[in-house]
């Protein structure tokens, strides 16, 4: 009982604090905007040069206060760039006209196991007719098996990370799957229909890449599951190519560098030869490896089992319509959703990260606001006589408030602009790994390229304005209230 009362009291306290903050921010912003507008209108005003000179005179305080803004805004820009890139990635992975069929009850490819009955020929005839065909008369639909493979990291240092999860997608006809997902190769070619290649003799480098030779070099036992000496042909995303490139080379002990065409990988007890690199742009496919479906199924115990059936309808409206139709189609017990819906579901972690960033930004902003308040209060107490003189010269209270508010906004913007620039240089173009998930387990590990866009910078400057306004408003109010004669005494 006592605990409940205490909890309610604390929640009420926090509620009141939040309400006061919202009120303070609203009033400060309104006053600041009015002050800027007022300052732009020609008429008698305290010269801005007076504020500038004071900022230079107390340059140490100005620099320290602005530095706090640099840190807060710089960090905000980096964090927002990260989350925005995650959002862009989930949105970029979805093609609006694509439809996904998963196992009934499953919302994630990782957990989906489609019944064998899910076939193109089992779809309603009108749906079959609605699916576009390529020039060879093949339907733009692909059955895919998606497996998250546990890969022991080759030559991993004993104290470091020993294994990673690699996402692999098995497809039947690469040209159809590529077209359905809008994927092109930036280098190399797609794997053959057989999906296997003898590598010991035909390697361009002339080195012996046979499993026996490589396992001997790695000093590990030969894989038990290798049915033959041929390597599996695989096409990999640009992101995972970079990630795998951090592994140390067996012979030199140095990072082997971004994976290229013809490189050999060691996954799941088999050798995999890279035949192509996918140019996947900003999508989760950049973190995947693609090979023949039957080989992947055989290799990882998913015989005759597919995860998804993707249909490219090329028209978002049609995709919605067919989605509704298939949901009511009793002969197929599957979970149907548009690709857009599927990837939107994976935004749960993004939303949680965004919420966390907002909390962090608010808390750090409070620190910055209190810093600028301290500076401005000190400036006002030191310049009480100046204020008295200004008042005697005929400047109104409002003009005094405008002058001090603009001074705090100037300090804030100096810091904010530098912070935006710092954030831009720290985050733009940087590669980071993360996870996108619907929050119910599963999800995808992704490698994303962070980018700082105009909206992120705009948000940084908006927060700068809010912080400068709130931090400067209360001291400016106290400056405005000073009585001329008292301040001169």
């Amino acid at each position: 009982m006592l605990k409940t009362i205490a909890i309610y009291l604390i929640l009420v306290f926090f509620g009141l604090v939040m309400l006061s903050l919202v009120l303070a921010v609203t009033v400060s912003l309104a006053v600041s905007l009015s002050a800027i507008v007022y300052r732009l209108i020609p008429g008698p005003n305290v010269p801005f040069g007076y504020n500038l000179r004071n900022m230079f005179v107390r340059w140490k305080n100005t620099v320290v206060t602005a530095a706090a803004f640099v840190v807060v805004i710089g960090l905000l820009v980096v964090m927002l760039a990260f989350v925005n890139s995650m959002y862009r990635l989930t949105q970029g992975s979805a093609r609006p006209g694509n439809l996904m069929l998963l196992q009934d009850g499953s919302n994630d490819e990782s957990f989906s196991s489609l019944p064998p009955t899910v076939e193109l020929g089992r779809l309603p005839m009108d749906v079959q007719n609605a699916i576009p065909k390529n020039k060879d008369g093949e339907h733009m639909a692909t059955k895919e098996v998606y497996v998250v493979v546990n890969q022991p990291i080759p030559n991993a240092p004993p104290s470091g990370k020993q294994r990673r999860f690699v996402q692999m997608r098995g497809i039947d006809k690469s040209w159809i799957a590529a077209s359905v997902h809008g994927i092109e190769l930036q280098d190399g070619k797609w794997f053959s229909q057989e999906g296997l290649r003898k590598i010991a003799a035909d390697s361009a480098s002339g080195k012996d890449f046979s499993p026996t030779a490589l396992t001997a070099l790695a000093g590990v036992a030969a894989p038990a599951a290798a049915p033959d000496d041929r390597a599996i042909e695989v096409v990999i995303g640009a992101g995972i190519a970079k990630e795998l490139g951090t592994d140390k080379d067996i012979t030199t002990g140095k990072p082997r560098g971004t994976i290229k065409v013809s490189d050999i990988l060691d996954i799941g007890g088999r050798k995999w030869i890279v035949t192509g690199i996918m140019s996947t742009g900003n999508s989760s496919f950049a973190s995947e490896m693609w090979c023949r479906d039957t080989i992947l199924q055989e290799q990882f115990g998913r015989r005759n089992s597919y995860s998804t059936f993707v249909i490219a309808l090329n028209d978002p409206v049609l995709a919605e319509k067919v989605s509704k139709e298939l949901k009511n189609y009793k002969e197929l017990s599957v979970n149907v959703m548009t690709e857009k819906e599927y990837y939107a579901n994976l935004n749960a972690t993004n939303q949680q990260f965004l919420f966390s960033i907002i909390v962090v930004a608010i808390i750090m902003a409070v620190g910055g606001v209190l810093g600028v308040m301290n500076t401005m209060f000190a400036a006002i107490s030191q310049r009480a006589k100046d204020i008295g003189v200004l008042r005697l010269l005929g400047y109104t209270r409002w003009q005094i408030l405008v002058s001090f508010l603009l001074e705090s906004l100037s300090i804030a913007f100096i810091g904010g602009i530098i912070g935006c620039a710092l954030g831009y240089f720290l985050a733009d173009g940087v590669t980071a790994s993360s996870i996108v998930s619907g929050g119910q387990g599963g999800g995808k590990s992704v490698i994303l390229r962070m980018s700082v866009d105009a909206a992120t910078l705009g948000f940084g400057l908006l927060l700068t304005f809010i912080m400068g306004s709130v931090g400067g408003f209360v001291p400016a109010l106290s400056a405005m209230r000073l009585r001329p004669l008292e301040s001169l005494r």
Partner: protein, 441 residues
Amino acid sequence: MSLLTIITLAISIAVLVAAAVVLVLNPRLFLLIYRNLGRNFLRTSLTSVAIVVLVIMVTMIWTVVSFLDASTAEQSQNIKLIVTERWQLPSQMPSSHADYMDPEKPNAILPELKPYVGKDDFMTWSFYGGSTEKDPSKRTRDNLVFMFAMNPEHIRPMMDDLQDLDPKIIEQMQKDESLVLLGKERLEMMNMKVGDKFTLVSMNYKGIDLKFTVGPVLPGNRYNLMGIMNANYFNRGFDTYRTENKNQPHPLENRRLNLIWLRVRDKDAVAKVGGIIENSPTFSDRPLKCETASSGIAAFLDAYRDLLFGMKWLLVPAILISMTLVISNAIAITVRERRTEMAVLKVLGFRPLQILVMVLGEAVLVGGLSGFIATLGSIAIINWVFGGIPFPIAFFPAFTVPLDALAWGFAIGAGTGLLGSCLPAWTARSVKVSEVFAKVA
């Protein structure tokens, strides 16, 4: 105790010892430091509030990071091992795989494993998840339930944080196999109470929908969103499925075991048990891998490594820099306003070192106290009111602020106070009496 706690504790003790030395050697100086803080109450309050909010932020981040670090730190004794399918996620093994490691099945267990695995060193998990809502379009996070299906006898010896679970609850679970233990938050989300009954429409084992009775609530925050059910009841679901489907087995019947947990004495045993399991021909149809729990968690957390790196090495330093700047600014302003006072103190016989200590002391006192209050408040409010930090990372539902945080807060506040006040304190120490009074004159 973590390295972080040891360092912050050392800083805290050093600061307290220094304060005690000042108090003993020069009590008047100590009193002066204390009183000076009250002279500009507004500035002290603004600085203090800034420190409090920033320390709360650092405390929250360190809580998450230190918990994850502890989870991935290798133990030297009583090491838990996770046995899973070697190559893929999610791990789905035949339930017979567990028999070869179960110490209570002497005829089935691999003979080489017998010396390493004791009766209370084994458990299995099968994941069973579903919704209380039949209509897929009405399924939300509130009506989704995720459970570990396991032998109730293994809960107390093997489940983290459940060692003190009432043995009567285990008996209840054995008597009534439909009894499910749910976390507090999950129950609240489902709007149910102990004794209520519900049917779960399975999402990962289609066609195996089970009826449950809500049992006692799982203690603590760790299992807030989850449930624990009896594995026998789960397995019986597959038998029922066969009966109802003309003796056809469920498609996943042979893949219903997700994890096997073992506990071994030391690192030597880890290597030996790992070798036995990974090289045994018994599991050649579905090869297994055996790794320590910490290694498994570390691999799972790898997807978050850049996020965690950013929290550790970008966010925390940025907050600490921000705090240092706020304190530095406030103290610099104070020193500038009190140049005359510093000169007077020197005239009265205060030595430059004493003035330096006074200014440093003011910053350390306001920083240390604010930091301590912040972490005390964090422990009380975050743990008590919110039940932990609900940061969505991996499979951890909420992170409770540890008591160690008391040392963190004091050390962060005092440390940044010390760092931020170095320059202003040096300026105060270097005030020249002649210059100050020449200006006054």
